[in-house]
Homo-oligomer: 158 residues x 2
């Protein structure tokens, strides 16, 4: 993505401690099964009875479906209006509780820290922590990762 | 998933250093765009020209599409024939290179270590490292995570 001075959120806007709302979305049985058929055909992601018989207690979304839903909420929450140039990876994902058919999934993103790139002028790295909860306010997933964000003032940095 | 004595791979079979083949699969432009429309609508995942103009150099799969494809290769490679009871999370994902439309994506899983569960008899935790490469044998993604595996001999452990 090219740097746009018009982007709502540039590196400068992601100050430590800033929070963004994520979702919530509601995940349906049909969506859980469709994702599982394509990417994660374990019985507890395909079938209500198998889910009930598993540790998860019901038809449950694949953990990678959960991270993909998080990505959607990040995109809608701030990323598509930002100067993001992508992410080098993920520092950690914790699947704390199952996300079952009909559950709500949403929460907050918090900026943990940020620093200017050592190698590229006009670019910074922002570390985020995402906490996602269900409709009972139970913590369902935590994810931490960093993203590269262009500076609004591209003459700064490095 | 209930423990099956007939499973091809139980905890006992995941000895340190054991390797499994993953894929390869070939990712198409249509699949990249379909995933992006649903979960990650950044321009470089939706449009060839936008991808070429980005750091990624072409229409590139979302990083979460890549992890989902990894999950599919894990499922087909060993997980669906194992005593897996799910995974508590992901220790690390590194997106090293873009996965572009038409690229091949595959590699190996290696068992890094394993230990018996401290809290549940008959269960163990196996740590895996997945390395995925493209058709030019370039490293594209690395992922490390642990999975819970039931023991074939459920009387052992804890």
């Amino acid at each position: 993505m090219s740097v746009s001075k018009d982007a709502k959120y540039a590196y400068e806007d992601f100050h430590e401690g800033r929070e963004f709302q994520l979702g919530p979305v509601v995940v349906t049985a049909e969506e859980i099964v469709a994702f599982a058929r394509q990417f994660d055909a374990q019985p507890m992601h395909l079938d209500e009875a198998a889910g009930k018989a598993s540790l998860l207690g019901g038809l449950a979304a694949s953990g990678w479906h959960m991270t993909s839903l998080l990505m959607r909420m990040i995109a809608d929450g701030y990323l598509l209006e930002s100067t993001s140039e992508g992410a080098p990876g993920v520092d950690r994902v914790d699947w704390k509780r199952p996300l079952l058919a009909g559950d709500s999934f949403g929460g907050t993103t918090k900026v943990l820290s940020r620093r200017l790139s050592r190698s590229r002028k006009g670019l910074g790295l922002v570390a985020f922590r995402h906490e996602l909860r269900n409709q009972r306010d139970e913590l369902v997933m935590v994810c931490e990762h960093s993203a590269m964000m262009a500076l609004r003032d591209a003459e700064r940095g490095a």
